[in-house]
């Protein structure tokens, strides 16, 4: 087969790859000038040489095909999970209707039964979903993904009370005679009638209380000036390790954006964002390159976005790679 190859093919290749002597170049030029066909062959060879400037091997193309398949399989897994959760949410709503009706029953009925021991009902918002419900007194409560809230099964005489583990937004119906208490593992908020947000996930080292309207008293352990009186637009952050509470002015609505199934972040470090993503998607994220931890981001995720969208969003603002395996993600 090699014998069949005309000499000029060899010369053209040698010319294009720079493996030719000047005398051979001259010979090649003469050959080109012999006929139009020759110069066409030469030009086509130049075009082919230039066109081969970047290459994708068969193996690389196959790899990429697999990568797409893997992403799609992962995406499907998340989607199925989400469907399951939706069912769970429905079931939770159904379970809740029972106790709510009961509570209303107690409220309408007698209150002297309060001497009975108080039992607590618990409801939990599943991951990737928020739960919304109304207490017997008309108070509306939004629970962020993964949050648990307990409320007494009976109507108390002198107060209203709920226990929060996670993040909740409260729109408390005004009742001067019966203050509303929200207790977290460390702090207590006393309310008359108002809207506010509390973020108190057990695994986090702080409790953030943000007041939108009205006023609240915040009691924190070791607080010298406790209870703190918060005004609209103020946010109190209680640090578990130091026991200190700081109060800042903030844009309060931003901290309850999750009620619209959105996660907003403004100048947030990667750690904070990843903690939210872990909670939302029930995954574990490992940061391989510690330099990443200090990067700051602003942006938004929607709860109905897939995990991949979230990482792609991050990827757009900073150079990072992610590897996903089972329910774990490695970032570098």
């Amino acid at each position: 087969m090699e014998q069949q190859l005309p000499d000029y093919e060899v010369q053209i290749a040698a010319f294009l790859s720079g493996n030719i002597s000047s005398s051979e170049i001259k010979a090649l030029q003469d050959w080109q000038n012999l006929s139009d066909e020759n110069s066409q062959i030469f030009n086509a060879a130049v075009k082919a040489w230039k066109g081969s400037s970047s290459k994708l091997s068969k193996e690389e193309i196959e790899q990429d095909k697999l990568a797409i398949n893997r992403s799609l399989i992962f995406q499907r897994a998340i989607k199925e999970e989400r469907v399951k959760k939706r069912f769970r949410l429905l079931r939770m709503a159904a379970i809740f209707i029972g106790p709510a009706l009961l509570a209303i029953g107690w409220y309408l009925g007698s209150t002297h039964l309060q001497t009975q021991p108080i039992t607590w009902n618990t409801i939990t918002a599943p991951r990737k979903h928020i739960a919304i419900f109304t207490l017997a007194d008309g108070t509306e409560i939004w629970l962020n993904a993964g949050t648990t809230l307990s409320y007494p099964s009976v109507n108390l005489i002198d107060k209203r009370e709920v226990k929060l583990n996670g993040e909740g937004y409260f729109k408390v119906t005004k009742d001067i005679n019966k203050p509303f208490y929200v207790t977290t593992q460390n702090t207590t908020v006393r309310v008359l009638g108002t809207s506010f947000n509390i973020k108190a996930y057990a695994e986090e080292q702080q409790i953030t209380t943000t007041l939108e309207e009205g006023s609240i008293d915040l009691t924190a352990p070791n607080g010298a000036k406790t209870p703190y009186l918060l005004h609209p637009g103020e946010q109190a952050i209680y640090k578990l390790n130091s026991g200190e509470t700081t109060i800042n002015k903030v844009d309060a609505t931003r901290f309850s954006a999750w009620r619209n199934e959105k996660f907003l972040f403004k100048d947030a470090d990667l750690k904070t964002i990843l903690t939210e993503l872990e909670r939302l998607y029930d995954i574990k994220i490992h940061i391989v390159n510690p330099k990443l931890e200090n990067l700051r981001f602003r942006g938004m995720f929607s709860y109905d976005q897939d995990l991949l969208d979230a990482f792609e969003t991050l990827k757009r603002s900073v150079k990072l790679n992610y590897t996903i395996k089972d329910r774990e993600v490695w970032l570098e």
């Binding site: 082919a48 690389e60 797409i68």
Partner: protein, 196 residues
């Protein structure tokens, strides 16, 4: 290609083989096309993968009001643009290469398709021939270096390079590409087409 709409129709019905066909037909040329803008082939690959992932995910609701090819290259163009926008060097780059519409797309598309054809021709070269071509073209080794690395004569390298380039050159005609696509299409859809 008229068959594109049929292909898309099948994809929207969840026909996985058609999706594979779409990938095989367009993936390399889309990568090369994006690479013309962003000059990073690995990055181009991940951007184009995103396009395919999107198509499959949104297959039920996807409305393509132009040719499938135009849609794909438009998406690739947008991906490249967004990518450059998000790069920190955005401003600097745009000053140097006014990106927006300055480059004529049809030409670039044609070039990308040509590159893809040549690329597949490289992949189809006989193994030894391909190895020599890759060492020469991409690792920029001299004939003598290739010869000593592979323990063959310089004469063989010369000859193999001649063969390689001749094969690539003959792949330049666009008709050949369409024939390959048609071949792929019919191969993958034979059971469905029999009914017609």
């Amino acid at each position: 290609m008229n068959n594109d709409s049929e292909l898309m129709e099948k994809i929207s019905q969840g026909h996985e083989e058609s999706f594979t066909t779409l990938f095989d037909c367009y993936y390399p040329s889309l990568c090369f096309y994006t690479n013309k803008y962003i000059h990073d082939l690995d990055e181009s690959r991940s951007l184009i993968q995103e396009i395919f992932i999107d198509i499959w995910i949104k297959r039920n609701s996807l409305q393509i009001n132009q040719s499938l090819k135009a849609y794909l290259f438009k998406s690739a163009h947008n991906k490249a643009r967004d990518y450059l926008k998000h790069k920190a060097i955005e401003l600097k780059y745009e000053n140097e290469h006014p990106f927006a519409e300055a480059v004529s797309d049809p030409d670039l598309i044609e070039e990308a398709e040509l590159n893809a054809r040549i690329n597949s021709a490289i992949n189809e070269l006989p193994e030894k021939c391909r190895e020599i071509f890759i060492l020469c073209r991409f690792e920029e080794l001299r004939y003598s270096e290739i010869a000593s690395r592979l323990e063959i004569s310089v004469k063989t390298v010369e000859m193999q390079m001649g063969i390689a380039l001749k094969k690539l050159r003959t792949k330049l005609s666009p008709n050949q590409h369409i024939q390959i696509l048609l071949h792929l299409f019919f191969k993958n859809n034979r059971p469905c087409l029999q009914g017609n």
